[in-house]
Amino acid sequence: MKARYQHFRNYHQEQRLTKFRLLAAFLFVLVLSGVLIARLFFLQVVEHELYQTKADENRVMLVTEPPPRGLIYDRNGVVLADNRAIHSLTVIPERVKSFDELKLTLQNIIEISDAEWESFHNRLKEYRRPYQSITLKSQLTDEEWAKISVDLYKLDGVRVEDQLTRFYPHGEAFVHAIGYVGRITKKDLEKVDQQAYQGALFIGKTGVEGFYEDELFGSPGLSKVEVNARGRIMSELGRQNPTPGKDLHLHLDARLQQYAYDLLGDYVGSVVALDPSTGGVLALVSKPGFDPNWFVRGISSKNYSLLRNSPKLPLFNRALRGGYPPASTIKPFMALSGLEYGFASWSERYFAGGYYQINPGGRRYRDWKREGHGLIDLERSIIESVDTYYYQLAHKMGITPIHNFLSRFGFGQTTLLDLHGGSVGLLPSNEWKKAKYNEPWYTGDSLNIGIGQGYMVATPVQVAAATSALAGRGRYYQPRMVDTIGDESVNFEGAGEEKKIQLKDSRNWEKMVVAMKKVITDSKGTARRLQGTQYDIAGKTGTGQVFSLQEDEEYDADALAKKLHDHALFIGFAPAEKPKITVFAIFENGGKSSKPADLSKKLFDAYLYDDYPEKYNYLKGKAE
């Protein structure tokens, strides 16, 4: 160590010092190289599987190929919901540098409306996979397609995609029955298998489209692809073809549906026609409707608010959700309940004056006929729709037996088997009123129920189903839209089975049908205008009060604004002996019941004898 301070230099020792340091450095180099190798060993051997998985997750992507959606047919094979190939202009936002620039460039090629840009920017904010394209303009015309194709190579991220889109060829008359598909929203995705819906554009929103979404959708094809870091697909590693959705065959008769819709004319209303032997829905009309294709294409907010704010409520499905007082159409059911519990008989006579009073000198419950009907029996109470008869019957019975009996016909309970969103109406009871208003049930409440007014509310589907039970002499079917899915009959399990409504005296069914036939055939029948058919119709009219007449007020139809006119109703089935079709029809504010009665007769003629106006031939399908 002393060498350090010597004046003369020991070169040999200096050399040894540096050599020693070089050796130390080399050992250090070896140790650090060992550290590197150890690190690589750790990554490449110990954690190899983790990183192998990560690398595969990076590069392998499952791309789902949406299956073609099942078609929807009516009972005669008429296509009600179709798939069409369209050319759409789509944009992959990740590959567009500036949307303003793109807008400028596109402006010179084809016209894209502000509304289309608006909905594009809205969809940009929604949930979306990275590099998934967004439709900018759908349904390009051939001319537009040709124009844009020429310049496509200049536009990065812009493509023309062939897509299958839903098309409803018969538009607004069918929308409340068929429903429609719309673009998938984030909310929709929460309810379905997200993997399966990757790449799908549409999902059934309402109607049959909504209820049978799973069957119609099918199962998507899967292709395993290799992508690069920018999401571009480099190669396909394997694939599984999509399974198309199943076709649905409905009970619906397209001609009947369209005819019924047209027969409502300018009125707001609803028609439900059923096959009483199956519960199949032959027609389900709610007017006004709207063109479901708007929702497929993506409805502009302007048009949507127009639909929403229309006073006629076109978006509202009256057949399924409309709560109407059944009015006098309830009378056959009331009569049967009186018979069932011994409060009424076919032979008993009753003097029907112009009004009914619970207590002498009390409130007068008026009959629709000011002078009354005279001495009548039960049958005549149906034929002439005698209100006072049903006031006294309801008075005698009280609400509980009425409630119990009407429940058996589905009032206050059932809705369509295979459509979502149906209302169950309201069949009031003691308990209901107590819970709702914290008030006891009054006798006057019962009187109103007796003529299908007051608290009672039923949907067209409910009344039609109950009427079908009359037609079927106690065979009750919950109404249903779909007959077969693919080649298989639809299975509703217990709910779809026939439910037998038992009467103590089953002859009452036939007697009630006879009474309802006389509603048409009797010279005083309220639907005598329907006479002259070669088959028998059994029916019952009704006029639902929109407002309450004061005790002594005269009904003056002309003086009232149309919206305060009574709802006009009719229930009926034909042929009365062996019914093939039941119809419920309501014209909102239609005034007299002649309108729905006439409509029903036309539907009977059409359905039973193929007596349609010629203009409906395009909806005939394979019907003989």
């Binding site: 350090r4 200096e14 010092l17 070089l22 450095a25 080399f26 650090l32 690190r39 990560k54 990076n58």
Partner: protein
């Protein structure tokens, strides 16, 4: 067999022809091994871009010319020129800060007439050890405390200038190349241990002067998952590439991380990840051994050099070459923070290849200009 091959190679090295041309066959041989392998990796890492490989070949050729030219220059001339070159380049570094042109927020270049650009910090990687070795060449070893202080000032001046550009990677390399000379000159162990003890404090002060993006890199290094799509992306993807390569690798041109562009900077600083993915642990071990071969030869040349200047310079240059490799592989494999240090001789890129090749020219000059014993 191995032994005989080695001795035959040695005999070859001593052959008169190599002495005359001043070529060290073992060094050149192991360098060519690295370079050749590197070109294959670059072809893969660049997405089979032949033009890029051609440009790299051109650069390597240019570097080889520099290497061979420098090998002809006797070390004594280098020694004499050392202080002048060092001062000159230090002035240029000041010039860069004042008049330099930048790229990506850093000022590293000086514009020359004719559109050429010139990066003085790159030359400092060679002139720094030359300067310190010159300083010790006529002073007795080991250095005194006063000498150590002088040397530290000599090192710190250009290092701080380069760090200010900012170019952390290069300033680091320049610093260690000077410090290596000090170490080889016999810097007392107590200083070394003392410095190690002071490292945390130094680290803290370094943190204070670092730019935000440099701090970000360190943070990302400590926890790459904190920003998986931003600055953590590089390191996550490079670890994924390396790890998924496994023992045998996925095969040349078969690395999915590299070929599908998941790996950023795959042909420059992160090229080792491509190599590791495609050739696995076996390939990496062979690569590191090849580097060690070069380093071993360099240290051998240093140990047998004629005088202190040559010994210190050769040793420092060789060890600096190792630091390149270690820092690069260390950062790509996630044990060191990401600093911009290329994988020597393999990463695609201009100036560093030339300086590194020049380094080996100096080594060969030292080896082949010894007076006959």
């Amino acid at each position: 067999m191995r032994g005989s091959l080695y001795s035959r190679a040695l005999a070859f090295t001593n052959a008169r022809l190599w002495q005359l041309t001043h070529i060290d066959v073992l060094l050149i041989g192991s360098l060519l091994l690295l370079i050749g392998g590197g070109l294959f990796v670059l072809y893969s890492a660049s997405g089979q871009n032949e033009a890029m490989v051609e440009r790299q070949v051109f650069r390597l050729g240019l570097g080889m010319l520099f290497c061979l030219a420098l090998a002809q220059l006797p070390p004594k001339y280098m020694r004499r020129a050392s202080p002048i070159l060092f001062v000159f380049i230090t002035m240029l570094l000041i010039g860069v800060l004042l008049f330099g042109v930048g790229a990506k927020g850093a000022q590293r270049w000086l514009s020359l007439p004719g559109g050429l650009r010139f990066q003085p910090s790159e030359l400092m990687k060679i002139f720094m050890p030359m300067m310190i070795a010159w300083y010790f060449s006529d002073r007795p070893l080991p250095p005194s405390f006063k000498q150590i202080l002088v040397v530290l000032v000599l090192i710190a001046t250009p290092v701080l200038l380069i760090a200010k550009q900012p170019d952390l990677g290069t300033s680091l390399i320049v610093a260690v190349s000077g410090i290596f000379v000090l170490f080889l000159a016999g810097l007392g162990w107590r200083y070394i241990l003392g410095a190690a003890a002071l490292a945390p404090i130094a680290g803290y002060s370094l943190w204070q002067v670092m730019h935000d993006y440099q701090k970000q890199r360190v943070m990302t290094f400590l926890n790459p998952e904190s920003d998986p799509l931003g600055s953590g992306w590089n390191i996550i993807q490079s670890k994924t590439a390396i790890g998924s390569g496994g023992v045998q690798g996925k095969g040349w041109l078969e690395g999915t991380q590299a070929q599908l562009d998941f790996l950023p900077e795959s042909h420059t600083d992160f090229i080792i990840a491509v190599f590791a993915e495609e050739f696995g642990l076996i390939g990496c071990s062979v690569l590191i051994l090849s580097y060690l071969l070069v380093i071993a030869r360099g240290l051998y040349i240093a140990a047998n050099a004629e005088d202190n200047y040559a010994r210190l310079l050769a040793g420092s240059l060789t060890l600096t070459f190792f630091v390149y490799m270690f820092v690069n592989i260390g950062m790509v494999s996630g044990i060191l923070p990401v600093v911009g240090v290329p994988l020597p001789l393999i990463s695609y890129g201009g100036t560093s290849i030339i300086t590194i090749m020049a380094t080996f020219g100096i080594l060969m000059s030292i080896q082949t200009h010894k007076r006959a014993r």
